[in-house]
Symmetry: C2
Subunit: 495 residues, 2 copies
């Protein structure tokens, strides 16, 4: 693969200096045009030690307007990072729409270095590559532009370069023992890099091999590639803008049979007031102990609440939080996204709230809004919510693999019960704020919502993060059911 990057390509320094001013002006123009779009740009600069990744990153910082640019070097792992799933560190540094993020190796560093050092086996490496592919695909589908550069040097050239850097007192410090150690492992590094590139050189996030022997050639190649890619993207965007507007018109959900999984829930289940009080005490006490045990074991719990308006989410959540020490839990209510959140992939605002290890995070509505309200109301395009099922499963799998427990509750009630509660809410002063015009409007789309719920359960109830449909017509029954289920799963996980 790398033969094509050992051809001794060179560019005369004078030519370089002559070409640069115009190229820089064009780059700035493209960046400026891009900043007006919804596109976040991710540029990954990877390569062999000594090939000048730092110089290229510096050059990009020099050519482009730094006001729209961030450089992200993933550094030594902090404990805030290690207490969260692996990709959290990347999510937190993704550029916003209209901005450019230049990553120093990005998500490729760890799998390549570990594999070259034989600290990661083939199975793990392949898994990491699959994960990268999915991550990049997700970002690209959301509108991101990804460019990946691999700066190549032959082994001989690398040796020469490191020696030269070392003899110059100004650059001496940037050559570490680690670099020489890597150089000794040249073969392994190149082999691993080749595999990484092969695995992840997809049409939507291509790799660009750059011969790095001559710095003028290297820099100009990077600059031209960035420019052309930005331009192509801008052209494509301006063409597709008109099409997209049409696509947001979303037809109502059709189904030949309106029966859904929700019809299987036995809404007649009830709990007597006396039994309720007894069971509430039992399970709240149990949960109290389990939450502390989970904290000590650094096992995180994520509880998602979705359900019909007035389905009893708030009440169920309060019965959980009453049982726990307030230091252990956090309730996240999905409000309208802020502008920073809108400037990222829709999952970003959930990633940013992931708690440190051992805590309980309760979501009062969640990322499922994408396939529920956003789908039914047409706020998300079909292709957006269609791919959300996979993205969500992926997200939850990462959380579970990192050691979290995920439980998802759908609080189900009948249409009649909802009506009764709406009317009740309108009467009780401290419940009035809970009932809005929107609630009444949503109620009219009951059938569409039912079908969306059905599909959500079908596509996202996994063995690692199951959906629990809770019969909610009787509040007491529902609350105890939720507590019981939480206790059961926590007990199992902590065993």
């Amino acid at each position: 693969m790398f033969e094509t990057a050992e051809l001794n390509r060179q560019i005369d320094r004078k030519d370089y200096k002559k070409q640069l001013p115009e190229l820089r002006a064009e780059l700035l123009q493209a960046q400026f045009a891009l900043s007006k779009t919804n596109t976040p740009v991710i540029i990954i600069v990877s390569g062999i030690d000594g090939a000048g990744r730092g110089d290229v990153v510096n050059a990009l910082n020099e050519w482009l307007d730094t006001r729209g640019l961030e450089t992200i070097a993933i550094d030594s792992l902090t404990d805030e990072e290690s207490e969260r799933p692996y990709y959290w560190r990347f999510w937190r540094s993704l550029p916003a729409r209209g901005r450019i993020g230049v990553f120093f190796g990005g998500w490729y560093v760890e799998p390549i270095v570990k594999t070259a050092y034989q600290k990661m086996d083939t199975v793990q490496f392949n898994e990491a590559m699959t994960h990268i592919r999915r991550f990049e695909t997700m970002l690209v589908e959301d509108g991101a532009l990804i460019l990946k550069f691999w700066l190549h040097l032959s082994q001989k050239e690398q040796h020469k370069r490191l020696k030269k850097l070392e003899t110059n007192p100004h650059t001496k410090r940037s050559v570490s023992k680690r670099d020489w150690k890597h150089a000794d492992l040249y073969e392994q590094f190149v082999k691993t890099a080749e595999q990484a590139i092969r695995h992840t050189d997809s049409g939507n996030a291509p790799w660009l091999l750059v011969e790095a022997t001559d710095w003028c050639y290297r820099n100009l190649t990077v600059a031209h590639t960035v420019l052309e890619t930005l331009r192509k993207h801008l052209d494509a965007q301006s063409k597709s803008n008109t099409e997209q507007v049409a696509a947001t018109q979303f037809p109502p959900i059709q189904s030949s049979d309106s029966k859904t999984i929700l019809d299987t829930v036995d809404l007649s289940q009830k709990l007597r007031s006396k039994d309720y009080r007894k069971e509430l005490e039992t399970y709240q006490g149990k949960l109290h102990r389990l939450a502390w045990a989970a904290y000590e074991k650094k096992c995180s719990t994520i509880i998602v609440f979705e359900g019909w308006d007035a389905g009893g989410k708030g009440g169920a959540i309060r019965r959980i939080t009453q049982a726990m020490d307030a230091r252990l839990y956090r309730v996240i209510s999905s409000a309208a996204p802020t502008d920073e959140e809108r400037a990222h992939h829709y999952l970003w605002r959930f990633w940013r709230h992931i708690a440190r290890a051992g805590r309980v995070t309760i979501y009062d509505r969640s990322w499922y809004g994408r396939v529920l309200v956003e789908r039914v109301e047409g706020f998300a395009q079909e292709k957006e919510w269609q791919r959300a099922y996979l993205e969500i499963n992926d997200f939850e799998e990462q959380l579970v693999k990192h050691g979290s427990i995920i439980l998802k509750f759908w609080l189900h009630i009948s249409q009649d019960e909802q009506l009764r509660r709406f009317k009740e809410r309108e009467k009780i002063p401290y419940k009035q704020h809970k009932i809005t015009e929107e609630d009444w409007r949503n109620r009219e789309k009951w059938e569409n919502y039912s079908l969306a719920v059905n599909e959500m359960v079908a596509r996202t109830s996994t063995d690692f993060a199951p959906w629990m449909l809770v019969a909610g017509d009787d509040k007491r029954f529902a609350r105890v059911q939720v507590l019981k289920t939480m206790c059961k799963y926590l007990e199992k996980a902590l065993d």
Copy 2:
């Protein structure tokens, strides 16, 4: 002091249950009204172990709408926190305007616990209290509402309470060895708490002592106090709204003598092209080594660039970044604040960008916008920019005390030179994006800006964070001057 909280106040459980529904409705109404305002609410719940801080926090979570509420328990210190100034952990969890943040002890925990354990002496304790006072004053002046509760128990009551918690299997776990150890130090804790309260019981952030023997009394007292304080604040706000609008009209800066500190800068200083190239190489090489040395010593550097439009900030910054490894620095350009940023104190958006230890952060314009553009253009009210000098000095002092180096450069040019550069920018394609109508408008206010700069230097050039006025008419001279200065200060600090 605490005698008043040992009077055995009690409320009948029946009374409690009777009063609660209405109280809750009123609390929710007040919270709702508050969410429409610009007020962030900070509620600190502190007190003796066993007095029920957790119960009170839980109760607040139950009574108020959790969609506008966050509970913040400062937990074990993460390394991301320890690599930044002490208050970073509090800044990152401050509630946004219109929201309520309930703090578990907040900034009072560490000084009180450490002092009670004799791990903090009186001088340090007093310093911590002074700091708290300033921090709270700053937030209140920015519109925050701060309520601080101290839940008190007599020693006898505390003992009884802990015993009781321990015998109940549900709550057993919440009593730790640490609690008993604290109980043994009851006298010290109470003494320290009394001092802390005395030091920080200011009119704008008062303490409320609550007798916590009877939970009904305790909870009702907290609820009533929160309600009344919110109401009073809402009333006051609606009254002052009209006055504030008038106050934003800001008169031009007057001065009997237009001479400023900027007139002392000798703008005729020049550097020949040949000397420039030599010196550039020397100091860039030096800076390269120093940046690595600072990284190894975990010494952070913060460089602030302010200056006239076209003063050469960008060019000077590029000469710095060229010299450094791209992993070591970050350039932060002050763009318009996002809505999340606008929902906090104006320093919040700078606190959030503070880098981990050992990095170089370069600000292309900075928090000084408050006393420059925001002052001159009338974007900030007079009282806002007037208090900013103190707030900024405080902010910088915290950074320096944490081990950072701060250097602040004002890039000065003459009005003629600015005109020349504006015209040049309009001609060169890749510089056109740098010149806007606003630049021409700002130019007309040269004198006002000069006076604002003069006052800024007078009030914020401290020995720990000095201002450097750089003669910028000759770009070469300015760039080398900046590099030289950086090298000098870094060298001194690393010695």
